[in-house]
Amino acid sequence: MDIYPIALATAVTIARVLVLIALSIVTGWVLGYIAIKSRWFENVWITLVNVFESIPVIAFFPLVLVVFINGLGGTWGVELASDFLVFDAVVWNVWIGIYQAFKTVPGDLLEVAENYDFGFLRRMADLYIPHSIPRITTNMFSSFADAMFYITVSEVFSVGITTYKSFGIGSVLVAFLRAGNLTGVYYSLLCIAVGVVCVTLVFSRTNRWAVSKFGTNTDIVIRRRTGPLQAYIQREEQYLVRELKTVRHMIHKVRAPPSVPLSNPYERQHLLTKQEVKYIEFAGTIVAIAVLTYVLYSVYLIAASVSAQQWARFLSITPFLVYAMAVDYLRVAAITILSFILAVTVGYYLARHHRISVPVTTAVQIIAAFPAPAYFPLIFIATLPFMENLLPLTYAEVYIFMLGFLSCFYYVFFDFWTGVQGIPAEFWELMRNYRLSTYTRIRYIILPGTLPYLITGLSSTINSAWAGIAIGEFWPNIYGTQTLQTGIGMMRFISLNMANGDVADAAWVSLIFGLVIVVYSIFFTRNLMDLARKKFVVEEGIYAA
């Protein structure tokens, strides 16, 4: 078998993902800047980002179909549909990272920029963009992983009897799996592995460089480089350092608490003249109102275009959909609980046994970097005969659970691990000094001390668990003619209706799910995060004037 086309497909997919990450970054800088200058825009934008971030890519299929496949059509329509789905996977992490970075530019640096009377471009080029780079490079890992996770569904998807494909390793891998071509599958996995490792290495080095160069509180030494480009970069860096050398106390941490306050009046009031502030606030308000109006108008148009008969059908199937959603929530809850228990117990053990923490966390990183849907069919086909015998009625449920778990467990693990490492040495000493039991330590110190990280990790875990079950509940031709599917589930309903070409029903359930996510986000995640930020900040436990 010729590996060249497979390698080319991998390169195309990775290039597609990287280009879309770059697009996310550029749009994130623009939107982030508007957000910190206009409270209206900030509220609308952040709410939408929080909501869309929580909705699995698959739930966007009806939209993709209407806008790109039916609306635009042709090869470009399919390519843009794939790009949109990949963009949807990468953009939220990057945007939130940039927004948080812009919100946490230290006040001292803002004052310096004000002193030197930086204009918009200088502020962006010398202050906001450099300050956002460590967060961007950190978030690129998860954005890339998310994009690769969905690659098998975003590069190839079926509506009714038509299958839409765009060239890339996702569509190539699916073709091999459907044909039962094991050699092709192995070659594809090998190419993905090489690609993932290369990108991870580049990201890792970039991140280290970015943190050392642009981080405002870091012990990592900047590695000097030679060559014309490096010399240019160093000149720019020296210039910035010269400009900002009066700043003595830069207190921002590279990995700041996972959320930031929605408003920081300092940023709005300083740096700009009153007229400029008014202008940007006005522009932001107009953009926010325009976005809201567009969303509401689109909803109205869609609602108006639906016949009374169709509405009656939607309402009649809603109780069933709510039940299916409840079943899916149970699945997500089970996956999340297991991930949480594993993260806390293993994370705590590793925190107390440093020697094995490096190999274990590296192993988890490798698993996390490799998209589960790419290798899962092999696990499925290898274990199916055994599982069918062992659990003839519920084996599909086990596979869905397994795929969901493999898709998400590492998020809460790494966030908890980061939180545990942030627990001050003094707290560990007190735990030992008072001979606290493991239960007391975890219950009274470790869990509260890592709560902000746990909430972030659990939030990502829940989102990714949805992604896992979204793929697993109805996976036609997972290998050869084998189909993995469950009897009931909201995600199965969406996938099945899309496959049957019934976009309306799929869109209806996507809408209901979106509404549930909005309510969940506003009343649960946000409140919990606010509480964590107010009360459970472990850094405040150490008073060192």
Binding site: F427, N433, Y444, V537, Y543, A544
Partner: protein, 261 residues
């Protein structure tokens, strides 16, 4: 000036020939023999980097000595124990717990009944003057109040020995002075459980004011190079000429040329 007075009494805390080496690193100190007797505050002073804080952690067995033995009231200590409580330099309180909950923490895994735990915790808060603030969170308190909470938490375990690692360094001078008096009061007036304290400090005024005996550590690896007994009546006054004599002696022993007494 009397030096290195040997006591005939049994030490409360005894360090015998202890040494410590960080993993994959050089030896921090060696052959440390240090005793703390009843009703005695022992200060450990020395240049920065000589391992004074490490020595306190070894005494509390938070770090295991690479050589030597530590005895508490005649019994060898092999693991951390609430009977030797450490007060940190960087004031450590749990932000999600009230003052009372912070103090209760040291009694969480004891077999005391709940009422007794609360009663004792409240008593300790009263002892450090925070009875009215028991329901306040650390962020609602000043640095001095937080350190009082930490002291109350350490005392709640009723330790015979208190280890103080520069406990006043992050406090303003007024608060530090009042807390020093409190530590003296605790060591010498509440003899029911607290018998001795070991203090690490860079503040020589503080050392002369509080300590009965001063161990000077120096060198690489560090050893106790000198031991000095401070025979000043309490309460000690900085206006006392003898106070300055001790201060000058310490400065001389430490070789601090630029230190202004």
């Amino acid at each position: 000036m009397p030096k290195s007075a040997k006591a005939d009494r049994e030490p409360i805390l005894a360090c015998k020939d202890i040494a410590y080496t960080y993993p994959h690193s050089k030896e921090v100190f060696r052959d440390i023999n240090l005793n703390a007797y009843e009703d005695e505050i022992v200060a450990v002073v020395g240049p920065t980097g000589t391992g004074k804080s490490t020595l306190l952690r070894v005494m509390a067995h938070l770090l295991t000595p690479t050589r030597g033995h530590i005895y508490l009231e005649g019994t060898e200590i092999r693991e951390p124990t609430p009977n030797i409580s450490l007060i940190h330099q960087s004031i450590a309180t749990f932000p999600w717990m009230t003052a009372l909950e912070n103090v209760r923490l040291s009694l969480r895994d004891t077999k005391l009944p709940e009422e007794e735990v609360i009663k004792r915790s409240e008593k300790m808060l009263e002892l450090v003057g925070l009875k009215k603030d028991k329901d306040n969170y650390p962020k609602e308190m000043s640095g001095g109040m937080r350190q009082r909470v930490a002291i109350a938490r350490a005392l709640a375990a009723e330790p015979p020995v208190l280890l103080l690692d520069e406990p006043f360094v992050h406090l303003d001078e007024f608060t530090a002075q009042s807390l020093r008096q409190e530590v003296l009061r605790l060591v010498f007036k509440h003899r029911n459980f607290l018998k001795s304290a070991i203090l690490v400090s860079h503040n020589l005024h503080e050392v002369v004011q509080l300590a009965d005996r001063v161990c000077i550590v120096n060198g690489t690896p560090a050893t106790v190079v000198e031991e000095l007994k401070i025979n000043l009546p309490r309460p000690r006054s900085e206006r006392d000429s003898k106070f300055y004599e001790y201060l000058e002696l310490l400065v001389k022993e430490l070789g601090l040329k630029d230190y202004r007494v």
